[in-house]
Symmetry: C2
Subunit: 333 residues, 2 copies
């Protein structure tokens, strides 16, 4: 589609909703094309866990490192120029070593754990880290209350990390639940922003819908605010040609009875989104979707790819807003 | 003095009582000259503290690293080939950085803290670490109960680390107390060993008497067992020519009304020791001591120095045992 130069220059305010790696790529693209302070990233904490006595927030940290320019460009997780001296020394003590913790990464876990114990909120801590990393965007945990993603699998109940890291997504999953989600309070500023049309676009990033976005949507007030917001809400499909670029999205969607396709994604987000960004590879599926769609290049290999997709998302949202499609979304609830 | 070859070969069993660096040097000498399994090291935990949410046991770790061959040979504390990536990353978050934590060192603090929270005892954890480090000696914390050294100074009450690390021993000290010492339980195996004459020598290492040895002696059952043991008990003076080789021993002794001399050391340990090892520099003071003394080279620069002093301690203890001097000690109580 044709980019509108005023939007492409980043005058908009955007709320990005994401999990870890895949979603953080688009968050980085948005961060780079928007003016400083115009991006808010609402991040999944369903993968948070205690390990070696430390509170670890994998998705939050991926977003912090990615937007702070500290992410390892090759590995897809963790920090650049990382070292592993502590990990090696832990192994020498026969300590648990299945979850890799780099020396620099550890600093974030140690300081976050200390501050949480001292009574600070996760959101306050993350905001402080973002400032220390020089990030001119708001990075907001989906809740300061604990929510834990649990997978009912053919190997029994697994925590997210047991499933994702230790078992490498191999077990067949029957159901996913989010312990604590019902009681979890959403960030008030996000609820206010959604209610007050503070965002020119709300973007569900191409994170795993079932593992990374669903925990956020299971917080009832957030889901309600998303469904009701006057702002245009779009999603970017994490599936291309029926495949996930990375991770178990397609496998999980099939196991849980969804179509592993852009149609399945559109169905899953029905009632919440005004439009779906799909890959050009899936352009033939556009006519079968019951939502507006934008076929474009969604695979983000380069920094330019991230920025281009971010501009496409902003422009698509602006177009949807002009066409007043939000009413159609709400009608479809 | 003449070494008796049978003792010098290490047939004896020795209990060494020590704090950190200075004492650990002699513990290493003893470890190297004794047969495997014949050394027990009872270590001060009065300096233990919580930092960044981690339980840190400075003296225990110094002994572990020293006997395990992992100590940094130059710095006098911490691990060899250490790196500081986590510390640098903590500084970047404005986290507390006055207490230096190396990446490898951190592994020990993280795993100890985790196990303590899981309900394991400090002694069990330290024993496990010693085995993992391949140490063929028992390293025993003075108690599994918390004891904290506190200094009443002209800057108010300071914890050990505030005084020693943050304030570099500058404040003038009026009194030292050991919170928790009265309620702390001593290791039963040590009490049994002392009562049952299991040790051919008990050596108070040249650690700071007021800061590193006194916390141990303030545990009433330990002090009583030491005073009553049939085994010979000796101390090695940490003062040479009225000066401490390292640390605030001489300054503290003066501030607290002790003579900063071998006489002051002998007085301080009166009723507990059968003999005092002093430096050859102090040999003229020997006649003024109210306890048997052995002048020898107590300054330990090389590994050979450590081993020679260890052999001297073992031989001196054997000589005291033959002269049945323990009775004289008890009479002097």
């Amino acid at each position: 589609m044709t980019q509108r130069p005023d939007i492409a220059r980043g005058g908009s305010s955007v709320l990005a909703i994401c999990g870890g790696v895949g979603g953080a790529k688009l968050a980085l693209g948005l961060y780079r094309v928007l003016e400083p302070g115009r991006l808010t990233v609402l991040v999944n904490t369903g993968d948070d866990f205690e390990h070696l006595g430390l509170h670890i927030s994998p998705d939050i940290d991926t977003v912090l490192y990615t937007l702070g320019g500290l992410a390892d460009p090759e590995r897809g997780w963790g920090r650049r120029d990382e070292t592993w001296a502590c990990m090696e020394a832990l192994k020498a003590l026969d300590a648990e070593s299945w979850f890799l913790l780099g020396d620099k990464d550890l600093a974030v876990h140690i300081e976050r754990t200390r501050r949480l114990k001292a009574g600070e909120t996760l959101s306050g801590i993350v905001g402080g880290f973002a400032r220390h990393f020089g990030i001119a965007a708001e990075i907001v945990p989906m809740s300061d209350d604990p929510v834990r993603t649990l997978l009912d699998s053919d190997e029994g109940e697994l925590t997210f990390q047991q499933y994702f890291v230790a078992r490498q997504c191999q077990p067949k999953v029957h159901a996913i639940s989010f312990a604590g989600a019902e009681a979890a309070r959403a960030p008030q500023a996000i609820l206010d922003g959604l209610g007050g049309a503070a965002y020119d676009a709300v973007v569900l990033c191409p994170s795993n819908p079932l593992l990374s976005i669903d925990p956020i949507l299971r917080i009832e007030t957030l889901r309600g605010a998303l469904a009701a917001t006057p702002s245009p809400v779009i999603a970017v499909s994490p599936l291309v040609g029926g495949q996930a670029l990375k991770g178990p999205a397609a496998k999980l969607m099939k196991e849980l009875g969804h179509a592993a396709s852009v149609e399945g994604i559109a169905d899953h987000y029905r009632g919440l989104i005004d439009g779906l960004v799909i890959d050009t590879l899936d352009r033939d599926h556009a006519s079968g979707l019951r939502v507006a769609s934008l076929p474009t290049q969604t695979v983000m290999r380069s920094l330019e790819d991230r920025e281009r997709l971010a501009r496409d998302c902003i422009a698509f949202s602006a177009e949807l807003a002009e066409r007043r499609l939000p009413s159609a979304r709400r009608a479809g609830c």
